[in-house]
Amino acid sequence: MSDASLTSEPADTLVPVTVLTGFLGAGKTTLLNHILTAEHGRKYAVVINEFGELGVDNDLVVDADEEVFEMNNGCICCTVRGDLIRILGSLMKRRNKFDGIIIETTGLADPAPVAQTFFADEDVRAKTRLDAVVTVVDALNFLQTLKESPEAHQQIAFADVIILNKTDLVDDAQLKAVEDAIRKINAFAPIHKAQKGNVKLTDVMDVGGFDLQRTLSTMPDFLENTHHHHEEDVNSISLSLKTPLDAGRFQMWIGALLQEKGADILRTKGILNFEGQSDRFAFQAVHMMADGNDIGPWKEGEERESRLVFIGRNLNRPQLRRGFESCAVA
C-alpha cells in the first residue's frame, strides 16, 4: 500500500505474532526454546527457517522458505514474504490450537518484508497482529557484525524489543559500547540483558511493541538528545507536539512523506492526539506501508501530547519537525 490509510480493527481478537530476528549465533533458537519451554500455559505455533541451528521443541513447527516478492503496486520497497502469507493463512484455520505465533527469521534476513507482510496482505491483517519484532544481539560479536553487515543495522532499526544476549561473555566497558551502538540506531526499543536467552517472558511476548501501547509510554525523554550521526547511518528521531493534530492534515503529510522518503524511513511509530477525539491514535509504518488504530482514551490527568518517532537513514530533523508541526490544528 502506498497510502497511509488509517483504519480501525479490533485488536483483541487478532492472533499476536512475534518475529525473532538476530544474527547467526546470537542465540535466537536458544531464546525460542526458552520461551516455548517456560511455564506459561500458552501454546505457540512456530515458523522456523529451513536451516535452523538447533532443534525446536514444540508441537506445531512449520518450515518456511523465506520467499520474498515485490507487490505489484509500483512501490519498489514493498516486498513481502509470500511463504508467510500461505503459512499464516493455513495456521489461522486452526486458530483454536495455539495462543500466538512466533516467526524465527534467518540471521541474514532483512526484517522489512516480514513486517510488511502484516500490512500488505488483507487476510493476514484480518486475523493476526504483529506484536513485536524481537532482535537478539550477541554482546560479544555485535560490534564486529555491525561493521560488516547492513542487515545488522536493519535488524536493530526494526526492533521493538532488543535482547542483549551473552552479557556474561563481555566486560562492562564492552557492554556499554554495544548498548551505545544500539542506541545510536534505535533510541526507542527497550533493551533487556540476558545470558543464554534467559529473559522474562513478559519482556518479549505480548508486549504490544509494534502497536506502541507500551513502547512510547516507556520512552525516555531524550527529545533534544541529538547525537551527531553520519547521515548514511540508520538513526532515530523523535518529535512531540502538545497542540492537537488535525487528522486530515496529518494523513496528507505522512502519506506524502512516506511516499517520497519511505525507502529511507524504515519505521515510523506514533501516538497521536487528534483534535476532537477522546481516544489515543496509534500510528505505525514500515517503509511506505502505514496503519493505525484507536488504542483507548487518554488517562485521567495525562498530558495529551502527540509523539512521533522515525527510524531510518538521511532523516532531516528540522524538515520533519516543521512538517509535523504543520499538522497542528490552526
Partner: protein, 350 residues
C-alpha cells in the same frame, strides 16, 4: 463455534447437514459420484455415501492427517479419495475406509490433483517447490517437477496431457508424458496464488496476490489481465464448455466471457450475490450452465447466469463458505464453512 439455528433453502428438502470440528478446507465427490468427502483443518475426512445422504449422523469420519488436511481430490479409483496434509503425507482413503500413505515429505502437501481417462491415470501432489507426478496407483513417482518457488496451485488439462503449476512470477506447463522433460514457463511478475485451465485448453488463468487475475492464451502466450476485484480471488471455475470463467473475490459473482474475442477488452458479467457479503467460493455445474456460489455470510446460491434465476441452496450457514463442489454428474452439491458446517444436496430428478 457458531452453530446455525436453522438452515434454509434447498437443503431443507433435498439435503442434509452436520457440524463437525474444524475449518472445512475442501470438498469433492468420488469419481463414481457415489461418495462425497469433506476435509478439515483438524486432519479429518468426513465421507457421506449417496445412499445415506439424508442421514448425516451416519457419515463416516476418518482421522487421516496429523495436522490439517490441506488438499482433496477424487482418487483414480472410482470410490476413493486422495488427500494432502501439513504432516507432509499424501494419502489415499479407499472405498472401504482404509488409509494408505502414498508419499511423505518434510513439507506440507498443499495441492493434490488426479486425472483418469481410458488410457492413462495420474496423481499429482505439490509440496514446497516440487510437484510429484505419480501413476494412477500412486505408488510410483513418474517424475518430480521442480519449480523456481513454492507451488500455489496445480491443474491437469482436460485430456491429462499437460499439468500446470502456479508460483511466483508465473506458471509452468509440463507434459505428463513420462519421456518429455521440457517445461513451458509462462512469465508474469508477481505472486500467483492459484490456477485454472480452460476446458478446451485455450487459456491458463492464475489468481494473483494483487487482487486480480492473470492469464495466458496458450496458443501464442498472449497475456490476459482481468482486474477490478476488491479482494484476492480464491476460487475460480470454468463452465463446462469454457464459455465462462466464474470467480469469487467480490460481493457479486464475476463471470469473464471466453468467447467473441473475450476476455480481452470485454467487461465481466456481474451476477448479484447476497447483498454485500463477499463471494468466497464458486463451482460451475459440470453438466449444465448453472453455477453455485458460496458467500462470507454462509450462504450458498445456485444461479443460472442466462436467466439470472437464483435458487437458495443454504441460507444462515453462520460462517464463510470455505469449500464448494459439484459431483462430476452434476447431481450432488456439497459445501463446507469455516466453522465446520458441512452440507450436501441431491439435485437429481425424482
Amino acid at each position: 463455534m457458531s452453530i446455525p439455528t436453522e438452515l434454509r433453502g434447498l437443503i431443507e428438502k433435498r439435503g442434509a447437514s452436520r457440524t463437525v470440528e474444524g475449518h472445512i478446507t475442501a470438498c469433492a465427490a468420488s469419481r463414481d459420484n457415489m461418495r462425497f468427502a469433506f476435509t478439515t483443518a483438524e486432519g479429518d475426512v468426513i465421507v457421506a455415501h449417496r445412499a445415506d445422504l439424508a442421514e448425516p449422523a451416519s457419515w463416516a469420519t476418518y482421522a487421516v492427517h496429523d495436522g490439517a488436511a490441506l488438499a482433496l481430490a477424487p482418487d483414480t479409483d472410482p470410490g476413493g479419495f486422495l488427500t494432502g496434509g501439513d504432516d507432509g503425507r499424501l494419502c489415499r482413503l479407499d472405498m472401504h475406509g482404509e488409509i494408505e500413505e502414498l508419499g511423505k515429505t518434510r513439507r506440507w502437501v498443499e495441492h493434490v490433483a488426479s486425472h483418469v481417462d481410458a488410457k492413462t491415470a495420474y496423481i499429482a501432489s505439490a509440496s514446497g517447490k516440487q510437484v510429484e507426478l505419480r501413476d494412477g496407483r500412486g505408488e510410483t513417482v513418474l517424475k518430480t517437477l521442480e519449480h523456481p518457488s513454492s507451488v500455489t496451485g496445480i491443474v491437469f488439462d482436460t485430456k491429462g496431457k499437460r499439468i500446470a503449476a502456479s508460483h511466483y512470477n508465473g506458471a509452468s506447463v509440463w507434459f505428463t508424458q513420462p519421456k518429455s522433460e521440457s517445461v513451458r514457463l509462462l512469465e508474469w511478475k508477481g505472486s500467483h496464488t492459484g490456477i485454472a485451465i480452460h476446458p478446451a485448453g485455450e487459456a491458463l488463468i492464475t489468481s494473483m496476490q494483487d487482487n486480480d487475475l492473470h492469464g495466458w492464451r496458450l496458443s501464442d502466450g498472449h497475456n490476459i489481465r482481468m482486474s477490478g476485484y476488491p479482494t484476492k480471488v480464491k476460487s475460480m471455475s470454468f463452465s463446462r464448455t469454457g464459455k465462462w470463467l466464474a470467480t469469487s473475490g467480490a460481493d457479486v459473482v464475476v463471470l469473464w466471457p471466453f468467447f467473441g474475442g473475450g476476455p480481452m477488452g470485454k467487461p465481466p458479467v456481474e451476477l448479484p450475490g447476497m447483498g454485500g457479503a463477499l463471494c468466497t467460493r464458486v463451482a460451475y455445474n459440470p453438466e449444465q450452465e448453472i453455477l453455485a456460489a458460496g458467500f462470507a455470510d454462509g450462504s450458498v446460491l445456485m444461479i443460472e447466469p442466462e436467466s439470472q434465476r437464483v435458487l437458495p441452496v443454504c441460507l444462515n450457514g453462520g460462517s464463510a463458505i470455505s469449500a464448494l463442489s459439484y459431483s462430476s454428474d452434476g447431481c450432488l452439491l456439497g459445501f463446507g464453512t469455516e466453522d465446520g458446517l458441512i452440507g450436501l444436496v441431491d439435485l437429481s430428478a425424482g
